[in-house]
């Protein structure tokens, strides 16, 4: 673009602004990390570097227990939500009618527009009602094996997390699928592949990056989620609920700083490595895509 060279300075300023915004958004988190390594905690005059506040985290039984619950929830959410999002994206691409497309897209994206507390409250009351309905039905039928299905607990928390994460999964996978040409699956079918073989031998290797990014997002989003989970989880603790109760009860203790930093570290590391991987990988993909888009028209 000629413009960039004639107006190099405005171009640089715009870059600077963009990076400054990203930095500003991250600043509070960086500051928390900075404080977490200070022996004297927040607001102290002298900065003394220490790991002291971190050492407490791993010996805290309550916390380790919460970590277990959180990881379990994150893992199951990923295992359930990513395939659901993938199927939805495939359905969206495969369905011929505009009405089915519109229905799919609005159902899968609208959770973005429903705030956490609102969805959480609605689901909470929904599950409580289901629970009562089951109990009533059980009493009436004289059987009880299904009575606890909808009690607040892992299942309800999972539902909340799946609904929260599925829009992101859907969009990420759909965008990756956009590059994929359906003719390839058809070519595979005509070579003798079943629909399933055509999917995992031909399509999946090409959308793998999108699916794995979606998995990483899902793990991190469910790990970080507080509002919906805390409303729906029933009795047990998760990392975020422990953290929030600590923050609200003791203010920001040094321990809270350390925990926040640790969680942020993990998220930044995971997403950071995905970003770096993508930076390296998209280069290759784009080159291939360009080569495919303009084949040399001679033999």
């Amino acid at each position: 673009m000629g413009d960039d060279y004639t107006r190099l300075w405005t171009y640089r300023l715009k870059w600077l602004y963009t990076l400054l915004v990203v930095f500003t958004l991250m600043l509070p988190v960086f500051y928390v990390i900075y404080i977490s390594f200070n022996q004297n905690g927040f607001g102290a005059r002298d900065y003394v570097f220490t790991f002291e506040w971190y050492s407490g985290i791993f010996t805290d039984l309550l916390l380790m227990n919460a970590l277990g619950n959180t990881m379990l929830l994150a893992a199951i959410t990923t295992v359930l939500a990513v395939p659901l999002g993938l199927i939805a994206a495939k359905f969206y691409k495969a369905t011929g009618t505009d009405r089915a497309k519109l229905l799919t897209v609005s159902l899968l994206l609208s959770p973005l527009f429903v705030p956490a507390d609102i969805l959480g409250s609605a689901l909470l009351v929904f599950f409580k009602n289901l629970n009562i309905a089951c109990a009533t039905a059980g009493e009436w039928l004289g059987v009880s094996w299904f009575e606890t299905w909808f009690e607040l607990g892992y299942f309800s928390a999972l539902v909340g997390l799946i609904i929260y994460t599925i829009p992101y999964i859907f969009v990420v996978i759909l965008i990756t699928m956009g590059r994929y040409k359906e003719q390839q699956s058809e070519a595979a079918r005509s070579c003798g592949a079943t629909a399933w073989q055509a999917f995992y031998q031909i399509e999946f290797p090409q959308i793998r990056a999108g699916v794995f990014s979606a998995c990483a997002f899902t793990v991190i989003l469910s790990f970080n989620e507080y509002t919906r989970t805390s409303l729906l989880k029933g009795g047990y603790d998760t990392i975020t609920s422990v953290l929030i109760s600590q923050m609200l009860n003791e203010g920001m203790s040094e321990q809270s700083y350390a925990m926040s930093s640790l969680i942020s570290f993990i998220a930044i590391a995971v997403i950071g490595s995905i970003i770096i991987y993508t930076l390296v990988h998209t280069d290759r993909l784009e080159r291939e895509a360009r080569a495919k888009a303009q084949p040399v028209m001679s033999s």
Partner: protein, 366 residues
């Protein structure tokens, strides 16, 4: 196994709707085994739809598809004796050329050594021996299509379906590959069903062809049939360059049909058709059969003549088109082999006579 008198494809009453769009309506079609069959027609006519129905990529709304006598209407693509070559973007980008070609064999769980041998032989056949380890994105358009061909042919399916296989190639390459396709088909002897909107391509390769437009199968026949004796007005309009006159039957005399065009009356042989008086019909004449008579030049007997006002000459290389206006305002074209130097024989606005042999005129009832 593949005798010419076998029937490879038999389609009856085939229809396909996409919502309210009727992409294909009541198509009946028979394709002999070992034929090179071309589906020709304008874009959006339903050719791809018909081919994809044969391949099993879409399900018919109505009708039946028999391939080698077996009803496959409900079978998925992988259970049909067909293999498909697509217009573009159909190679597996994450596999090498050899892996692409060997994909179908791998699905059939053939021994590795046999796969390698068959792939080698096929690459040799389609002229890609040296490119076995290339990735698809490093191939030219023509090479990509060869890989697709190889990938399909290696499976030895009975019927090869090709959807505009050459449309993405440049004109010169398209011509060469056309002939190659034809020779390849003669060599292996399986049935090819080839979709194209390009007349020249169709004529080059086809043993038989079908004209498809607006979801309807208009006419089938050999290339020569369709060029010289089209039954349908649409075919006459679509293939070659024809002058077409629409008019009303005004009289029947033996096998002669008198047609009133408003500005003139033609008499045409019925050619076995049975028009009735006052039917709307059309008459066509190929433009290369039309001659331009100068002022004062007397017409021979047996020639049909019409007066016309000369318009312009359009130089097309081998031929030159002489365009004139008829009394009703329509254009009439005479196409002559170009003679060196004098490209403009006639004065604009000159009153001339256009003439052609009566016997070459064709009557179209539809």
């Amino acid at each position: 196994m593949n005798q010419k008198n076998d029937i490879a494809v038999q389609v009856s009453g085939l229809a396909k709707n996409y919502g309210a769009v009727q992409a294909l309506r009541g198509v009946d079609l028979t394709i002999g085994a070992g034929e090179y069959f071309v589906l020709l027609g304008p874009s959006g006519g339903g050719k791809t739809t018909l081919l994809r129905l044969l391949g099993g990529f879409i399900r018919p709304t109505a009708g039946q598809i028999l391939l080698h006598g077996r009803d496959v209407s409900e079978q998925p693509p992988n259970r049909r004796p067909t293999s498909m070559v697509f217009q573009s973007f159909a190679l597996f980008p994450h596999m090498t050329v050899a892996q692409n070609v060997g994909y179908g064999l791998r699905l059939r769980r053939l021994p590795k050594a046999e796969i390698a041998a068959r792939v080698d032989a096929m690459l040799e056949m389609v002229g890609l021996k040296d490119l076995a380890d290339r990735m698809p994105h490093a191939l030219s358009g023509g090479q990509q299509q060869r890989v697709q061909l190889g990938r399909s042919l290696v499976l030895e399916a009975d019927i090869l379906l090709l959807d505009e296989p050459l449309a993405a190639l440049d004109a010169k390459l398209r011509k060469d590959m056309c002939l190659e396709l034809k020779h390849l088909q003669e060599q292996i002897g399986i049935t090819f069903v080839h979709v194209t909107h390009n007349q020249e391509e169709a004529m080059t390769v086809a043993d038989n062809m079908a004209i498809i437009a607006d979801g309807v199968l208009v006419e089938t026949g050999t290339a020569q049939d369709l060029y010289e004796n089209p039954q349908a007005r649409f075919t006459a309009d679509f293939i070659g360059e024809n002058n077409i006159f629409d008019g009303r039957v005004s009289g029947l005399t033996g096998s002669g049909v008198e047609i009133d065009l408003g500005f003139a009356k033609f008499t045409v042989d019925a050619q076995g058709q049975t028009p009735r008086v006052s039917d709307m019909v059309s008459v066509s004449i190929r433009s290369e059969l039309v001659r331009v008579l100068g002022p004062g030049e007397a017409p021979e007997a047996l020639l049909q003549t019409v007066p016309a006002t000369y318009g312009e000459a359009v130089y097309l290389g081998l031929a030159t088109s002489h365009v004139a206006k008829l009394a009703n305002g329509d254009n009439i074209v005479a196409r002559h082999v170009s003679r060196g130097g004098t490209s403009d024989d006639f004065e604009a606005e000159a009153p001339l006579t256009y003439a052609w042999p009566r016997t070459q005129m064709r009557l179209h009832l539809s």
